[in-house]
Symmetry: C2
Subunit: 362 residues, 2 copies
């Protein structure tokens, strides 16, 4: 598998949904496999909140593979001997694309609010530059699924195959509430300095308030049921039961993941991306979900997970039902995967859902 | 209804489950109605995590009634013309009973970890002093239900009627995880000063990290479903959709409740009480739940709420099933109330469950 990574600069204005304008911007992206001569074999993969354009493969010295590595590669479901897979770091993120902390004079809290539509609009400019007028398929999980749905509605000619995994047509109160914990954790940490921090203010440890917010995220990715099976009431063997700060295993898991995440992600980027997710609503600018989904021309595959509390199966079912009501029942495939992993399943239980991606690509 | 409030001091050692000893301690409590001559009409009400002994009525200048006011009073379900209702502030709390910040030289983080058994043991000393050898009934919701179950197991002769509402026999991983957010929020706030804070360090605003932790609590009290019906995607009318810190109604609700709570509760007390809840396990010191519940002699009424994710109906069902397996099916009444309010229902939807309390008291 050929991996290429690049940053593309756009010296043209990007008109944002908010009315604000980005005079110029950069997008970091990675590609796997080769674009064929007529540029018809591209599959666009959209990443989630904390993901990056590094979706597959491994660089020298890396411990971990890209976040969807089991699905992308030679002979895999997204087969890089056949397809040219491309993943772009979203606008607002902190892995090379323009965001609140990018550039020599970062805009910080003056960076404009970005929406899912804006993320998609910026990526369409990149695809255009690469000569990809039409993608073979587009796919994304969680916030990546929002981007995929957004393309399906706003750029109906761009592809014939759209796959949304563990996602929604509009973020609901439960998910918004969890995102608020992260926001509060970040802004209430004095070291955040109202966005005027320097990276080495907390580089070694990460911002504690951010870690707390991320711990909340880790709860939301699971469910009461999946926590029972994953942790039960197991207590950390070296901690005392009657020590005030003694921990159950679930607490150690949260601490470990919260703090390690806070070291590698930028808190301002996090604020901007959860904002984009919170205000995502495929019905905005339309009278109704029907009116919005009416624009879709591609075949839509919706994959949800039974225990996902963040983006519930019922939300994906609403998309399915709306399309059925529009007489488009033949153009939508919905499946709810039985999984104990909650929202996390889309990054874990590949063998339970890769078949449906394979089917969608045919 | 006669209300009395008092603080009782015990100059005798309390031997704690942890092996530590409290040389002396104080308990604040409130009573409603009159104890009859043979002291047989007492109903003990146990409060939840953030509650206090002020369960009913209203003092001059108070805006709010006690936390279970709709249930306690003349002619109400816990009828103070018939019963003598008593509620004791738990050990470790911050409303008059001994806790980490009580006394002239507060023990702070040197205060011992308290368990639900310890809370109950201290209260039994108070009941003894008041001459109440046997209560007519005992009742509690959430952590109050843990105390009630604990009395049923450890003091089987103390009452013939035990009512547990929205509670469990052992706190499960989901609830522990939410408590961890509060703990992290508190200890990571620099103004917590490793427990060496002075109250006026943050009196006016409360500790921000504590507020964040409490916001997490407010998520756990609800469910995805109940948040949908309570807030939907309603946006605060005066906030801009494209302002980074613009809020949905659910976020305003969390902020308001989180910050106002942090002003009126002590963070160290919170740490100690959530610790007590986390390590509550009615099976500890026994081989199994069967072996533990085998000790119960009273009739047990279990009231749970369908959307309660913190202490799920399935946890109460395990208590019921265990008693049925022990051949005690006649001595347990279980009901699961259909409610959208999640865990909060026990403080809101009285009309849906008061009938079962009335029935249990007969």
């Amino acid at each position: 598998m050929t991996i290429n990574t690049a940053v593309e600069r756009f010296d043209e204005p990007l008109y944002l949904e908010s009315g604000r304008i980005l005079d110029s911007f950069e997008l970091a992206y990675e590609t796997y496999g080769e674009l064929n001569e007529d540029k018809s074999n591209a599959i666009v993969v959209f990443h989630a909140l904390t993901g990056s354009h590094h979706a597959a493969g491994r660089y020298e010295g890396d411990k971990k593979f890209g976040w969807w590595n089991p699905l992308i590669g030679d002979g895999k479901i997204l087969d890089t001997t056949k397809y040219f897979v491309i993943c772009v770091n979203v606008l607002g993120s902190c892995f090379g694309s323009s965001g609140p902390m990018s550039g020599e004079n970062p805009l910080r809290l003056k960076f404009p609010v970005i929406t899912i539509s804006d993320m998609v609009a910026s990526q369409m400019k990149l695809f255009e530059r690469l000569g990809i007028e039409k993608a073979y398929a587009i796919i994304g999980g969680s916030m990546g699924g929002m981007q995929a749905l957004c393309v399906a509605v706003e750029y109906p000619e761009f592809t014939d195959r759209v796959i949304c995994v563990a996602s929604t047509y509009a973020t609901q109160a439960w998910a918004i509430a969890f995102n608020r914990l992260a926001m509060e954790g970040i802004v209430n940490d004095p070291r955040f300095k109202n966005g005027q921090y320097e990276k080495n203010d907390f580089n070694e440890q990460g911002l504690f308030g951010f870690a707390v917010g991320r711990m909340a995220g880790h709860i939301s990715f699971l469910s009461p049921h999946s926590m029972d099976s994953k942790f039960g009431r197991n207590y950390v063997a070296t901690d005392g039961l009657y020590e005030l700060f003694g921990r159950f295993e679930v607490e150690r898991y949260m601490q470990y993941n919260g703090h390690s995440f806070a070291k590698r992600f930028d808190p301002l980027s996090y604020l901007y991306i959860i904002k984009a997710m919170n205000i995502f609503d495929a019905t905005r600018n339309y009278d109704s979900l029907e009116h919005s989904l009416h624009h879709i021309k591609s075949k839509l595959t919706l994959i949800s997970f039974k225990e996902d509390k963040l983006f519930r199966p019922s939300e994906m079912e609403e998309i399915r039902d709306t399309l059925v009501n529009l007489g488009r029942g033949n153009e939508v495939d919905y499946v709810c995967i039985d999984s104990d992993y909650g929202h996390d399943a889309f990054l874990i239980e590949y063998d339970k859902f890769d078949f449906y991606i394979e089917k969608a690509l045919k």
